[in-house]
């Protein structure tokens, strides 16, 4: 096979530039924005398209796509390294920790890059077979969207295990997330979701590529498309203002977030449990004193607040405690690891407690994280080489099973309907839509303790959350342990964020939103089915005369 080193270098450059555009970098010194170089995504694929056009064979095209994706995912998945040391998962040996992280980082990146490779392969097919067809640009964009959609299933397949929830959930790395600070794009996502946005990104890249590297003429259609897309890219705030001029005053709710900074432990000592609980009580006390009108209090993921309070007080005393603390009913949301007595399985469960009524609902995390919350079969195989007892002990202390309840919306005293979602579940657009059905507000709880408070993954998740809020048109309140808590309005705009990840409270007023977006009704179906049908239509359409 002939290798064109220049093509490979350019494909790699594409991966690098896209990784730079993807959120996660800390630009706090030069800008308050979460991702100031996100716009690079509009042109970042151009080098890959150029190299694909030079591909000498289908295999070559596959490798070019794979290489570009491998560079991209290696960089955006750099937070894998923040897992080290893995003592929080029971691996105390530093070398073993590095070995496991290296392997999972490489396999994850390669696994995801595989789908970019498939895109490269598919691209080469379009080049060979339908080079002279109309709307080739749209066909390539459709192919990329379909590859991305299949990739969202791929991560679950790659790290398949007992806790796997099948579905198109793992969307991290989707290029749309680079545009989390673009209000217009966020608005567009409320119609077509991230895959619709991906489609736009690819079309734009292809147009840029055609202009600079292809001999084709500037047709009226191309020029019009470029103008529209340029305005989408460069003037989002202006257009956003025009679109969102229908903002009406809604009754706002008083919310309070308890942000903690508790490090991860395989097992907490009693002293640590009490110290953590003391901190939570002090913050709750602070909320009651500084913000007595609070309606809603949210704890971060795995806070174990209710478990701890029930160690000290019985149910009537708990009610007395809350009645003394707040003058009126408050909805308190907290969770932790629970072993369900019915099936003996462990779940990450969130309880919603009305301080006057007791527990009113619960929700079990449906998308456990491979490696952190269940051992995927490949890792189980690997660890069995090291120690047969290892997997059993992981199961006893950390393993979680996916929850079964799809909807756990709480209608709190006819004031507000809130829906829970736990940490990594926000990566899944489908789960977010399902969970938030008929609610006015989504509350999310997260913990970056396993990642030792890594900001890269926190920033990437923030961008993901912006899209979930925009897609569903619901505000999202996120309480974080060892990270920055934040509040996002129903347009996907970040309205409030803590300055640092230290223990503190974050309080404010927020307008709930009862509106249902297009995306809420149709989900990804229009974007995926549309791409598929459009792709098929163009593929089988008549050849264009030269």
């Amino acid at each position: 096979m002939e290798y064109n080193h220049k093509s490979f270098a350019v494909a790699g450059l594409s991966g690098l530039s896209l990784a730079f555009a993807y959120p996660g970098w800390d630009f706090s010194l030069i800008s308050s924005s979460t991702n100031i170089f996100g716009w690079i995504v509009w042109v970042g694929i151009v080098p890959l398209l150029w190299s694909l056009s030079k591909a000498t064979s289908k295999k070559n095209a596959f490798l070019l796509g794979f290489l570009s994706g491998f560079f991209y995912f290696l960089i955006i998945f750099r937070w894998f390294w923040s897992l080290h040391p893995l003592d929080t998962l029971g691996i105390e040996n530093a070398f073993l920790s590095i070995l496991i992280i290296t392997l999972t980082w490489l396999i994850s990146s390669a696994g995801m890059a595989l789908f970019w490779g498939i895109f490269g392969f598919a691209y080469s097919l379009t080049k060979e077979k339908i080079q002279y067809r109309k709307y080739n640009i749209l066909l390539i964009a459709c192919l990329f969207v379909i590859c991305e959609y299949i990739r969202s299933w791929g991560f679950g397949l790659l790290w398949w295990g007992s806790g796997t929830l099948w579905g198109p959930h793992w969307t991290m790395g989707n290029l749309a997330y680079a545009l989390g600070n673009n209000p217009l794009i966020l608005n567009i996502s409320s119609f077509v979701g991230i895959y619709g946005v991906t489609f736009l990104i690819i079309v734009f890249n292809l147009l840029v590529y055609k202009i600079f590297f292809n001999q084709s003429r500037f047709s009226k259609i191309k020029i019009t498309t470029i103008i529209v897309l340029l305005s989408v890219t460069l003037a989002p705030k202006y257009i956003y203002g025009v679109i969102n001029n229908s903002e009406i005053d809604k009754e706002k709710i008083n919310f309070a977030i308890i942000q903690t900074s508790q490090e991860a432990r395989l097992l907490f000592t009693p002293q640590e449990v009490v110290a953590n609980f003391k901190e939570q009580l002090e913050l709750l006390d602070q909320i009651a004193k500084q913000n007595p009108e609070t309606n809603l209090v949210i704890f971060p993921e795995a806070s174990e607040f209710f478990k701890n309070i029930s160690l000290f007080l019985d149910s009537s005393e708990i009610q007395n405690y809350f009645s003394n603390l707040f003058n009126k009913p408050v909805l308190i949301i907290a969770g932790g690891r629970v072993i369900d007595p019915d099936d003996g399985k462990a779940y990450s469960r969130v309880y919603s407690l009305d301080t006057h009524e007791g527990i009113v609902n619960y929700y079990d995390k449906r998308l456990p994280v491979p490696g952190g919350e269940f051992l995927p079969y490949p890792i189980r195989l690997l660890t069995s080489i090291f120690s047969l007892s290892d997997t059993t002990d992981f199961k006893k202390t950390r393993e979680l099973y996916p929850g079964k309840k799809e909807v756990s919306t709480v209608d709190f005293r006819y004031q507000i309907s809130v829906s829970p979602i736990i940490c990594s579940e926000l990566i899944s657009p489908n789960l977010t839509v399902e969970s938030s059905a008929n609610s006015d507000l989504i509350f999310s709880m997260a913990s970056y303790a396993l990642f030792h408070g890594n900001e890269t993954i926190a920033n990437q998740m923030l961008s993901v959350t912006l899209f979930r809020a925009a897609e569903t048109k619901k505000p999202i309140i996120t309480a974080v342990n060892l990270g920055k808590s934040h509040v996002i309005d129903s347009n996907g705009i970040l309205v409030l964020r803590t300055q640092d990840s230290s223990s503190q409270i974050l309080t404010g007023l927020l307008s709930p939103s009862s509106q249902e977006s297009w995306y809420n009704k149709a989900g990804n179906t229009p974007a995926i089915l549309g791409s598929l049908l459009l792709g098929i239509f163009i593929w089988f359409s008549k050849k264009q005369k030269r």
């Binding site: 096979m1 003592d87 029971g90 691996i91 105390e92 040996n93 070398f95 073993l96 070995l99 395989l266 097992l267 907490f268 000592t269 009693p270 002293q271 640590e272 449990v273 009490v274 110290a275 609980f277 003391k278 009580l281 002090e282 006390d285 309070i309 029930s310 160690l311 000290f312 007080l313 019985d314 005393e317 007395n320 405690y321 003394n324 072993i339 660890t383 080489i385 090291f386 120690s387 007892s389 290892d390 059993t392 002990d393 006893k396 202390t397």
Partner: protein, 326 residues
Amino acid sequence: MSRKLKIVLGLLLVLAGFLVLRIGLYFKSSTNSAVSALVKGVSNSIDSDYDTTFIDNDQDGILDKDEAYYQTDPFNPDTDGDGYFDGEEIASGYNPTKKEEKKVSGESNRYNVTEGLTKRLIGGMNAGEIDPSKGSSQIFSQNVDLLTLAALDEAVAKIGQSTKQTSNILLTDNSKESQEEYLKNISKILEGPFLSAFIEQPQAINQALTSSITGDFEQSVSIFKNYNIRFTEAYTGLLTIPAPENFAEFHKKLLNFFQRIATEYNYATQIEKDPITSLTAIANMTRFLGTIDISIIQDLRMIIDSNDLVVPNSSLFRVLDLLNTE
């Protein structure tokens, strides 16, 4: 790709496989130690985290700092060589430095309840009194139930015999200084072993039972034994702390708590030899340790409030303050 290159790559792949396997075997021992730390960490963390003086080198249930008080050997778990650990002897009211006729908890009543039940069932079947083929199945079930209930009664009685109320404690004057000093001394025990009894109990019992279900009785016994030693340590440690008169009843209550839980864990170690007694002890603990024994804490609160004492700067006292609903 040329054939030569393919062969070289193949060889490299095989070598890499061997390397991974070797690394795996090399690290296997370290992983195993991490795993055992996970199981044992529960108890190890208690002493290492809150005070370096909470060390019990010979694992006899008496902390090194207290061995001098009891005149026992800190490097010999059985100073008088009578087959019983020093801590066990103290917790059962015996002298660990003298060989006596002893009835130490868990060992006193050597009768094996599970064996007894088995023998009675077999005897009944041989005698034809318990025979599934004769009479109705209801009568057969009733007879088996009666024998099982009798065995459970025996187990409860056996465990109950071993726990005696502690009466002899060290007393000190009732001055405010003495009382506040006493609070400082016990706050570490309250935040350590006392809370661990409630906080860690579900996970510890779950781990131990899972191990025994999978046939790993060694691990299961090891978990129960660690807790037994830890709570015996707390008990013997408390005996060395002089209590002001105001706290005498509270002190005895706390001592009885630790004695009871140490005894229960001791019986739980018989999971392989006498599962009925062991499971009865575990069931007792599950009921007993479901929520923190608030009465102990409430007693403490009352004494503190009525004597206007300054509480030590500890998370536990702060939590009690914050949760105080009165």
